[in-house]
Structure formats: structure tokens, C-alpha cells
């Protein structure tokens, strides 16, 4: 096993420093910031509101539109402004991660827009985005069953790690790096899962168990950030 110590010295089940704050975009109905180490994402929610054009409306439920993007200077090599195939895919999996907890049937014929912007990127951007979006939806007073929490679990060579950094994503020795972004509802259901790399079936099950545990800790931080709103009232 080549990966015996993490590149930044963290414990294998330790996330980077987390920061969570609610109410960061005044114009929005709800908003939040979530940070994993050097990865910072902000999310703003607008809605439920009227959906135009009319033919896009769903008479049975609210349309949830997620839009993920990164600032051009959020990464070391400038990313040209505008959507990419990657950002479109992330937007979609984000929508799928959040939909199960929102009472969409309460808001038929309307739309809820969730906008996620990555201010600074060092891996796990979609996870930070989902964590921010879940807080922003609650902050916006949307009727929802519970929050969603997300983290990336990695298999670096044969070691399982929590919250990959970009350096770890680029690790090439041994079996290399396998990146697994996961999302769990508070009650423990998996609402986000993606993987790319090489992993054995039993290892993957371990990863899922580890992810669930890590997300429980992340949930407590999201909860605290929302409760902090009370101190300002």
C-alpha cells in the first residue's frame, strides 16, 4: 500500500476544514455558502415562483432547476466563462440529489431555481455545491422533508479517504485515485453517487458506509449554520 499518509497530513476519515454560512446573497429567497478546505461554493435559491413559458409548467409538481457553474478564476488554469458539458452534468445530478427531499407536489405549476457558483475550486466542488444548496433551500422556507449532505470519498491506491483534495485526485501511484462523490438524505438514503476509477465491489460497499458516516457529521454543521440565523433575529 503506497498511500500510508495523506498528502496534507489529515487522518483518513477527516474532512478538510468546513465552513457553512447562511444568507450570503441578499436578493435571493434563500442562500448559503459551504466550504471544504480550499473549495468554496455559494448557492442561491429563487422560488417557488411563476414559470414562463407556460408549456414548461408541470401541473403535478414544481419544476426544480439547478444551475451549477464555476468562476473562471476559481481554478489555476482559467476556465472560459460559460457552461460546459461537465457543468451541465453536475447541474443534473445536483437536481436529482435535491429532488427527493423537496415537497415538489406542494408547488405545482411553479419553478424553484437553485443557482450554484463555485468561487474557488480544489476538488469536491459538486459536493460543496449540494451542501450549500440544501441549506439555501431550507433558508428559503421551501417545504422539505429533510436536508441533504454530500462528500467525496476516495480510494487512493488501496486506502479509503474522506473528502479528496485535488492533489489526491491526481495521485497516480499504485492503483491510482478513484473519486466517489456521494450524497445522503438525513435519514440515510443515497441521493447522489458517481464514481470513476477502479474499485472492488467490497471496497465500494466500505466507501458507501464511510460516506454515510461522514455525511452525518456534515449534516450537524449544516444544521448549526441554519440555527445560527436565530442569533440574528
Amino acid at each position: 500500500m503506497t498511500y500510508t499518509k495523506r498528502l496534507d497530513g489529515r487522518k483518513f476519515d477527516e474532512t478538510r476544514e468546513i465552513e457553512a454560512k447562511v444568507g450570503v446573497v441578499k436578493n435571493a429567497d434563500g442562500s448559503a455558502l459551504f466550504r471544504f478546505g480550499d473549495t468554496i461554493a455559494i448557492a442561491a435559491v429563487y422560488g417557488p415562483k411563476a414559470l414562463h413559458p407556460q408549456h414548461l409548467r408541470d401541473p403535478e409538481r414544481c419544476v426544480l432547476r439547478c444551475n451549477y457553474d464555476m468562476l473562471s478564476f476559481s481554478v489555476a488554469e482559467r476556465k472560459k466563462p460559460g457552461p460546459t458539458r461537465r457543468s451541465q452534468e453536475i447541474s443534473k445530478v445536483t437536481e436529482w440529489a435535491l429532488s427527493p427531499v423537496i415537497d415538489l407536489e406542494n408547488y405545482s405549476n411553479t419553478v424553484i431555481d437553485v443557482h450554484i457558483t463555485v468561487l474557488q475550486a480544489n476538488a469536491s466542488t459538486r459536493c460543496a455545491g449540494i451542501n450549500a444548496a440544501a441549506m439555501a433551500l431550507a433558508n428559503a422556507g421551501v417545504s422539505m422533508k429533510e436536508l441533504v449532505s454530500s462528500v467525496s470519498i476516495g480510494k487512493i491506491d488501496r486506502k479509503k479517504v474522506v473528502d479528496l483534495s485535488k492533489e489526491e485526485e491526481d495521485y497516480e501511484e499504485g492503483e491510482g485515485a478513484t473519486d466517489i462523490p456521494l450524497g445522503f438524505t438525513k435519514s440515510g438514503d443515497i441521493c447522489l453517487m458517481q464514481l470513476d476509477g477502479k474499485i472492488r465491489a467490497e471496497e465500494l460497499k466500505e466507501v458507501i458506509r464511510t460516506g454515510k458516516k461522514a455525511c452525518k457529521e456534515i449534516y450537524e454543521i449544516q444544521k448549526k449554520a441554519l440555527e445560527a440565523v436565530g442569533e440574528e433575529i
Binding site: N27, F73, E77, R78, T117
Partner: protein, 270 residues
């Protein structure tokens, strides 16, 4: 909600007494805050707040080909994105005309002031130069994005550092910076946009005041040597459908010179 007729009228009634809805005088700016280093992978990045309006700007450099008519000069590309998260009025999609116009106004101010010494951004004449990318994003639109964007762009350039260059590979080492600042001159442009409501002129409008106004004029000024006597107007843009009388425009030109001085004093980089 779009602005109502009665609010439009009330804004004018208040202005007739030199007052605004938030208690400001017509030529008062809201509180300006500048925060540096908001995104560590940028050569330079800045967050500017004017009242509740918030924008972030970042500077990135890369190796690029020079333009054929300026073979030994670096290049500048300015982009503005009006993010949907900053206001319910922006939808995701390609840049709207508002974003395009804004980017071009910011670009002209920087270019014509001579803030960047492009001749010092040459790596190999005719082959390789540094391209400077200034990208500005709205985070919360509460009015006056033009002045906030110009301020953010210039501040980001002022604190930016040159990236490390790999001479062998002839490429920039992305994410690795030197302690050297960009080759800038003293001519930092300041933009002030004047809005006209009825026959009153004001600056730094809230969104409502912007909606109630018929016309605006943005003026970018800079001082080549940093001395007041050398103040020059580098860019002007008249926007919206309303027109200006000659006396109004002359008054605005004088006010621009005054306001640029005031703003320079007021700007504190944190």
C-alpha cells in the same frame, strides 16, 4: 415586482427636495468595501461591495499570440457575467446585452487610461505575449453594477501578481505566482455613472432608482501621473433611451472630475 407608477413619482418628489428613499443625497455613494484575495487560484481577485451590491473580479494570465498590429504587446480580455444568483431578473444562458455592454465599458476604461503597460507583457515578439483576462461576476445586484465592476476590475489588477513562467515548456505555471505585480502605471481609471431622473442627476442608484431613471452616462477618468492637474477622461458611455441637455452633460462632466477625486479618497483596500 416592476417599479410602480406611484413609486416613480415619489422618487421624483423626494429628489425635488434633494432626498432619496434611503436618506442619501443625490450625489452620495453608499458604503464602499473592497476585500482582496477572495479566490486563491487567481493571479488577483477582489470582492467589491457598494451598499448591498456585490461583485467579484479575478485576474488570470496566460500565454497567447499577440495581435498582428501590436506584435510586442500583451493583450487584455474583459468579461462580465451577470449571474442568475445575483438577481431574479437574470436567467442562465449566454451573456445578455447588459453584460456585454458592461464588459466593454470596463474594458475601455482600463485600455484608454493606459493602466496596463502592455509593452512589458511581451515574452517573444510576434510569437508569445501575456494575455490578461479580467473576469467580473455579479454576486448581488442592488443597483450600480457599472461602477462596482470597474472598481473591482481595477483593484484586482492592482493586487495581482505575475504567474511563474516555465521558459523551457514556454507555458505559464498555472496556480504558481511570483511576488511581482503586473506592469501597471499610476493611471488607475475610476468610473462614475450619473443617472438622470426627471431633470435631477444622481449617482449610485438602487435598483428602483435605476428603473425610474431615463438615462445614464458613465465616465471613466484617470490621472496619468497621479496628479490632479493631469486628470483625463478616458471613456464615456451614454445609456438608456432618455436624452441629456447640453447644460446637463456639461454639469455631469464637472461632477465626474469632482466625484473621481472623492472616490479615490474613499477607497480603502482591506
Amino acid at each position: 415586482m416592476k417599479i410602480s407608477n406611484l413609486t416613480k413619482d415619489r422618487i421624483r418628489e423626494f429628489l425635488a427636495e434633494g432626498k432619496r428613499f434611503d436618506g442619501r443625497k443625490p450625489l452620495d455613494f453608499r458604503k464602499i468595501e473592497i476585500e482582496t484575495g477572495v479566490s486563491k487560484f487567481a493571479e488577483g481577485s477582489v470582492r467589491v461591495k457598494i451598499g448591498d451590491t456585490e461583485v467579484v473580479a479575478g485576474v488570470k494570465l496566460d500565454v497567447t499570440e499577440p495581435y498582428p498590429d501590436s506584435e510586442d504587446e500583451g493583450t487584455l480580455i474583459t468579461t462580465v457575467e451577470l449571474l442568475p444568483l445575483s438577481s431574479p431578473k437574470y436567467e442562465p444562458g449566454p451573456p445578455r446585452i447588459e453584460a456585454i455592454e458592461l464588459a466593454r465599458i470596463v474594458d475601455r476604461g482600463i485600455r484608454e487610461s493606459g493602466l496596463i503597460d502592455f509593452s512589458k507583457l511581451c515574452i517573444e515578439k510576434g510569437e508569445k505575449v501575456y494575455g490578461v483576462f479580467v473576469d467580473i461576476y455579479s454576486i448581488n445586484d442592488a443597483g450600480n453594477l457599472i461602477d462596482a465592476s470597474c472598481l473591482a476590475a481595477v483593484s484586482a489588477l492592482q493586487i495581482a501578481r505575475m504567474p511563474k513562467y516555465d521558459a523551457k515548456k514556454e507555458k505559464v505555471k498555472h496556480g504558481e505566482f511570483t511576488s511581482e505585480t503586473l506592469p501597471l502605471t499610476k493611471a488607475a481609471p475610476i468610473t462614475v455613472t450619473f443617472y438622470k431622473i426627471g431633470n435631477k442627476i444622481l449617482v449610485d442608484p438602487t435598483e428602483e432608482e435605476d428603473e425610474a431613471s431615463d438615462g445614464r452616462v458613465s465616465i471613466a477618468l484617470s490621472k496619468k501621473t497621479g496628479k490632479k492637474e493631469d486628470i483625463l477622461i478616458n471613456a464615456v458611455q451614454k445609456g438608456k433611451t432618455g436624452t441629456f441637455k447640453e447644460e446637463e452633460l456639461f454639469k455631469i462632466i464637472d461632477l465626474a472630475v469632482e466625484k473621481a477625486e472623492e472616490l479615490e479618497e474613499a477607497i480603502k483596500i482591506k
